[in-house]
Symmetry: C2
């Protein structure tokens, strides 16, 4: 391989995933194909000179946090955009913007960046599962003359190769029949503990309480139990399928946003809109009986409950909700912890699906999914 | 994305996998980023003009077999090499040689092609699991100035994303602890049928006989039962790990060839060297008792037998052979048909591994793995 100029990487968002991403990027053995040129937190920006060799990767790895917190430059996405655009258009550099936030306002800038030839890599689900117009703008900007590329592997299954596998199946002409999986690490943990196929078991509210203590849920558990996280991931997969050039028109419904996914929320109607997680948890035990009843019905049929997401291409439906699976099914036997599992039923992988399984959340594996995308652009 | 000149693809080997690959390649919707420029069978060559638009993909898809069989050009890898070298060096074209044979002599040419800047994609395990000198020559040729790239996803697990996942784990700085899997579709089928964890079951020779009738084994079943196919796949994975730039030296043994893998053959010593598959199968029942004994021992422990391959990075060992797994283990519960399953135990995917599972053999999924690699080079 010929040695190329390094790709310039600008990072927005330096929280848990962002910090881990920076650490992984700066741990790539020299000579790295990547060069960090800026870091933007919610309040500040640190600009690094791409041509300076003064700050080596190991040194920067130790110092970026203090350098960023002592920087006098405010966080300003407008000037970041101007700087990156100049690097691409005047200096003919290859630039990647890595959005490690979960912000809607950062996501709204992807079309601008892509149109300028800036590549965009992110674990942020907002742009790809939000309003369909933003999705269309992204597709258009990226496919325009000189447009940048976007990759978002870490939006589904964190570091697991879910989106790349889907694209390879589609790109080589396979036909997707159905994608079915446990897409939420939180829901995975909750139902692996709650529903084992054996009779009885812990109360639903107790399991949710433990999951929250362990940090597996959002501060407000309703933000997991509403199923929106799963609906967003299904929207992302569904749109990839629909946007792929094939001979036959997509049978999937056009999703206006993740809210168009048929999602069966687990929030009891009486507990909708409760403002705090603490109050929600305090009132959840009053609804334990109905979850116990569902579990009992399932175990009588030799089944377990799992909160799954389904992109049913053949049936033309995208849905998220509680479903029952035999205790011999991989969703029952094979899952543990907060594992994700994704099954691709396709023309070629039929009758037995292609399966991908493993941790689907956590900073290290999410950052890995992001860095993997960045390395694909090298 | 800017529109680029198509990549030129030369195919050597038009058997089951080769034909399916050509069919998949020619089914890519127009405008395809790939252009077929030559087909070479064991006897003939068909040369296609990259600048001619006379033969469209759909037309070629119907006609390539008859065009090739009526071609008067002999199969001649020397002149193919000359032609491709000229396309790369003089015409500045990007060229991919796809080796769909299982030939040692084609594999021996990879260093020559790579050194000339020709990219090489293949499901052929020979070069990557054979003599270590060929492997070193490939690495050197590819990393030389202007060298071509090589990709070989389909050598392990066919279309399953095994090698790409391994490279992504390594490339993003994860540490591999152990890779463990059922790597042979044939062995998978045989032991899924033979050892279910329940007491008793069919005779070993009967299962092997059925597998052969179904076309799951080589014509001579000893070519599967010797474990060499698994040893080759482990060699490929092991060399990828060892060759990756990291801070710590590899703890894996340098493998002189796949024969250096500790492989526990399933061929009874008395049946070594039997010339025909028919005679082998006729004499196998005399050894059924010893396989039944192993199965009985396993089932008494609540376990099943599986023929697995292990790259134990932490333990510094690469081995293939029969091992016992609890009936609750994914190798026991989750496998069916001739599925492969591969578990990556890593620093990040720990204690629960990253798992990839699905059909690991067959023309459609193997060709898909090859075409996926070709598309990665676009």
């Amino acid at each position: 391989m010929s040695t190329q100029k390094p790709l310039l990487v600008a990072v927005v968002g330096v929280g848990l995933v962002g910090s881990e991403f920076i650490s992984q990027l700066l741990s790539i053995p020299s000579p790295s194909p990547l060069k960090l040129i800026s870091l933007t937190s919610s309040t500040r920006t640190l600009t690094l000179d791409p041509n300076s060799s003064s700050s080596s990767a190991p040194q920067l790895k130790n110092e970026w946090k203090s350098l960023l917190s002592s920087s006098s430059l405010p966080a300003d996405l407008q000037s970041l955009t101007t700087r990156l655009t100049t690097l691409v258009s005047q200096d003919k550099e290859r630039v990647i913007l890595v959005d490690n936030t979960s912000s809607d306002s950062v996501a709204a800038l992807y079309p601008t960046w892509l149109a300028q030839g800036i590549n965009v890599v992110t674990p942020n689900k907002k742009a790809y599962s939000g309003d369909v117009q933003l999705w269309k703008d992204i597709l258009e900007a990226s496919s325009s003359q000189g447009g940048g590329r976007y990759l978002n592997e870490a939006t589904v299954g964190a570091g697991l190769p879910v989106i790349s596998t889907l694209k390879e199946l589609l790109g080589t002409g396979d036909k997707i029949i159905k994608i079915e999986g446990v897409f939420s690490g939180t829901m995975s943990y909750i139902f692996n503990e709650f529903s084992t196929g054996r009779e009885g078991g812990p109360a639903f509210s107790a399991v949710v309480g433990v999951a929250r203590e362990k940090g597996y849920t959002e501060p407000h558990p309703a933000d997991d139990l509403n199923g929106f996280d799963v609906a967003r991931k299904l929207t992302i997969l569904s749109r990839i399928i629909s946007s792929f050039p094939t001979s036959s028109p997509s049978t999937l419904p056009p999703l206006q946003s993740f809210k168009s996914v048929k999602t069966a929320s687990l929030i009891p109607p009486e507990l909708e809109g409760i403002p705090t997680g603490d109050e929600f948890l305090a009132r959840l035990p009053a609804h334990d009986a109905q979850f116990a009843k569902l579990r009992e019905e399932a175990s009588k049929e030799g089944k377990v409950l799992r909160f799954v997401g389904v992109v049913d291409v053949k049936g033309g439906e995208v849905r998220a909700g509680l479903e029952k699976y035999p205790t011999t099914h991989p969703f029952a036997t094979s899952l543990g912890g907060s594992d994700n599992i994704i099954m691709f039923h396709t023309e070629r992988y039929s009758p037995r699906p292609l399966i991908i399984q493993g941790a689907g959340a956590g900073a290290a594996v999410t950052a890995m999914g992001v860095l993997g995308d960045v390395l694909k652009l090298v």
